[in-house]
Symmetry: C3
Subunit: 393 residues, 3 copies
């Protein structure tokens, strides 16, 4: 990697991320998406070369996890640390921090010395994104009123709508695999539902993928069994993107059809949109019996689609039988983590390293998001990081 | 803010805080109180100007929360981080860390590289302050015996007796609002009980306020319904202060009377002193039925005083109808966080920004407390911070 | 302490710890053991003199505690902080992180920016050490495959087999007490079982002590009531060590016999080896009734040996009645933490300071382990730390 070229490329982009959040990739301009991926790659390379990325002397990075997480949690911790911030997790009791007035208050009370707030809230359809916007409005108001000396950036660590730190890592991996973002043009990616012996998995990963990859001229094929629809507005957006950016977006009900001639496959389980809606109501009402019944109905329905498994036979259908397999991890691997799952053991093992590499971009993607949102002249600041080349150890 | 003037002012004070704890404001000399507030204001201004406050290269700041906390937890985390320390929370199981021998041992075992231990222990009357003194004696002994290379300062993050980080933030806000500490002389502050649909709120906030504000020549009026007494020794101390420092301290049983002609009102719920005593016994005995009965009796009693609400009519009684409303937050706001509470929605909203500002001093008050307790020549150290003016980002 | 001499001594040792783990002391060469102890002492002295040990600019130190811990947890936090890393604890749900494939994946996913992973896993006989090796193999593979830019060191914070951070702290204390490692030659240490009104305490401490002290020419006498055997392979190893390094290793069934003429006594409760095996099966099966029955049988058996208490009469048997009492803490002190326990109150109090000093080495032992495992040319790096003598405050 030639640092000069990267700096040049970054300098040519129109970046308007300062004091802004990163909630949905489709709220970001193409230049900002490219800047984020480019900066993430650069940070990764600098880290590999032992160069410190530290730009903050002190300051807090706050995380709010309203759902379990291991890899995103550690990716956020790593990103925050790499930039010089200290992590503080808000261990939020659902009862304590309610919506409305209290979000405004809590958001300000924790933010006096905060530079970034990372939030995962993906379980309640119609809630996660809305909660992030409440927090964002609250710290914006606090900043405008002078209560906060700086305006912490809100980073979406997975909402009900999008999972941008994942989708951007996926994009970085694809860029690296195919050589450039330009090379993604005309490549077919199969974003396919796959069978899993669990239910209630969020929609944010497939939505994030179709919302982002359609911006790079890819032929995005979304596949799922009838009834496993995604949020209509995101599907609409993917179609619009395809038209605007010169790729294609198709929607099929067959894994085979999606895999046929694909360059990339992304087989992953999710819950039907309408099930997530029912589930949200039941969760809010604390209706345990209803939840149990819903789960059983869903698992029974899932079981009709056990053949939606990414295995050797399925992979044979892809371009030269050799498409890149991608997954956000952890995958449900048949015979390993479950009896029958999203992917067969041999396929997963063949591509394991690729999935690890895919995941390895996430800390640097998050660091890039924080950097662009918090550093007023980011390209100059990156230049200084390279110039000083301060050794990390 | 003229840094030179502030340094001059600090230099004129007799500060003897090094290697000492901050447990009760009334154990600190007037000069130390003034130094703490002045330093907190300076730190706040420096932070606002993007100047780093880092004075520690490494070292731990330990927190022990024996009761829930969001804002004090984050204020402590922020203060510790701003000075360059790393936070370690002691997640104490009640069974593991008992009193007596074990406090001495645990306190030393966690403190080998610690600079400060912040403790919240406010639920058990007669316990919190005593526990903090046990920890203090333990680390003092460890330091004297050479087991500890440094003597971590104990900071009271709310005890059964005082809440000094809150009361000092309140003082900083009042100083800013009225222009100087001198201007507080002759101002009337109403520290009033207010209705809340909960019970068992600690006494430390009202006790902290009457114990501190009577030292600045204020006319402190404590108001509560009959039966909601505070700790007799703190009430005694407030009276003594008033006499010594030339203000006044009165004790009434009417919110109206307290509010009349007040410059500042601080309406806040608390549990009666004797209820807290009974509760402590029941909690120690694990008597759940007894606790439930006590709660019901208390709530029934509370309900007699629903008219102790800070609303527009009540505010009209204050000086020019325009007193400053203060609260340690979160407030029980009628129609927002509860049906009927401590303050009406319109009054709270009118003063919301003031309460946020009041809270915004806390991280810097805590940083000032740590700084004065851990830096041998604090004024010179502050001078160097200003001279180097190291940018935080 | 003459820094020059220490550097000279370190320079003479063959140190091959870079990119290696610290799992069992007996996997480390004598030179590496000596280097670790020497470096720990040096770090302790530097810290006492206010000199910063910071060698990392950024980077994560990860801890995985599969059993409760206070002092090792804080020692690890302190060590990580002293070197400039940030702590991230993996709060592992047993169900989430299983063995096999998933360990490999999780280990890599959390390690992208990690320098060290400290693990406590001591409850399941045959599991802890094996788990650490799974994690080690996983990050080694990730490093070899280029997924990880650096190879995090695995540090054993107590396994089913060894407790090296404890045993090394014990060794550092003995070195200091007797003046040198050479002076340990011919000194008798009684590693004795002692009565405790609890059951299921791990074997790692006594195993760690007999496995390490037999390497320094000590006369190690292991004592326990019949039936309280340790792992046979560790006992075998202790015997082999004694033969190889010219000390002795004896195994008796009487505390009196062990204490007779001892220079050091280390009375400590543990569970019989075969009980730990049964317990592991019951724990894995979630057999609560079986566990309760086993506990009662064990406690009944323990109760036969209440006279295995380290008290004044027992201490009289030691060399000049004045042996050094050691314990990893917390001890079960008769009349303090329990009715009848491992040690009488007067004996414990007489030696309390010594046990605190013993514990005080642990943060620096862990820092030395991390340093040697992560810094390519450690002696030069130490030299630079001394030369720069950067003040910590």
């Amino acid at each position: 990697m030639n640092y000069e070229n990267v700096l040049q490329k970054l300098g040519d982009l129109k970046i308007d991320s300062y004091n802004n959040d990163f909630l949905l990739t489709w709220e970001k301009s193409n230049d900002e998406i490219v800047a984020t991926v480019t900066l993430a790659e650069l940070f990764k390379k600098l880290h590999q070369n032992g160069i410190s990325l530290k730009v903050f002397d002190t300051g807090l990075g706050i995380s709010i996890f309203r759902d379990q997480s291991t890899r995103t949690r550690f990716s956020f911790a790593a990103a925050v640390n790499a930039l010089g911030l200290s992590l503080s997790e808000l261990d939020e009791e659902k009862s304590q921090v309610a919506h409305g007035e209290t979000v405004r208050e809590t958001a300000n009370m924790i933010s006096f010395l905060a530079e970034v707030i990372g939030i995962r809230d993906d379980m309640y359809l119609g809630e996660g994104d809305s909660y992030m916007r409440d927090v964002s409005a609250a710290v914006q108001q606090g900043y405008d009123e002078g209560v906060l000396h700086q305006r912490p950036a809100i980073i979406n660590l997975q909402s009900d709508i999008d999972h941008p730190t994942q989708a951007m890592s996926d994009l970085a991996k694809l860029k690296h695999y195919f050589g450039s973002l330009e090379n993604l043009r005309g490549k077919k990616i199969a974003m396919s539902w796959a069978y899993s012996p669990s239910y209630g998995k969020p929609l944010s990963v497939p939505q994030g993928v179709i919302g982002l990859m359609t911006r790079f001229g890819m032929d995005v094929c979304l596949a799922y069994p009838e009834g496993y629809e995604l949020l209509p507005e995101v599907v609409q957006l993917a179609g619009d993107n395809a038209q605007k950016y010169g790729g294609s977006f198709t929607n099929v009900n067959s894994m085979e059809e999606a895999f046929r001639d694909a360059d990339v496959v992304y087989p992953k389980s999710w819950a039907p949109f309408n099930v997530m809606q029912q589930r949200t109501v039941l969760l809010i009402n604390g209706d345990k019996i209803g939840l149990k019944e819903l789960e059983q109905a869903c698992l029974a329905n899932n079981a009709k689609f056990k053949h939606w498994e990414c295995n050797a036979a399925m992979m044979k259908l892809t371009k030269t039988g050799n498409a890149l397999y991608q997954h956000c991890l952890p995958a449900d691997i048949s015979g390993v983590s479950c009896e029958r799952g999203e992917v067969s053991k041999d396929v997963f093992e063949k591509y394991r390293l690729h999935t690890y590499q895919q995941a390895s971009y996430k800390p640097f993607v998050i660091a890039a998001m924080i950097f662009l949102a918090r550093i007023p002249e980011p390209v100059n600041a990156v230049k200084r990081i390279i110039e000083r080349s301060h050794k990390r150890v």
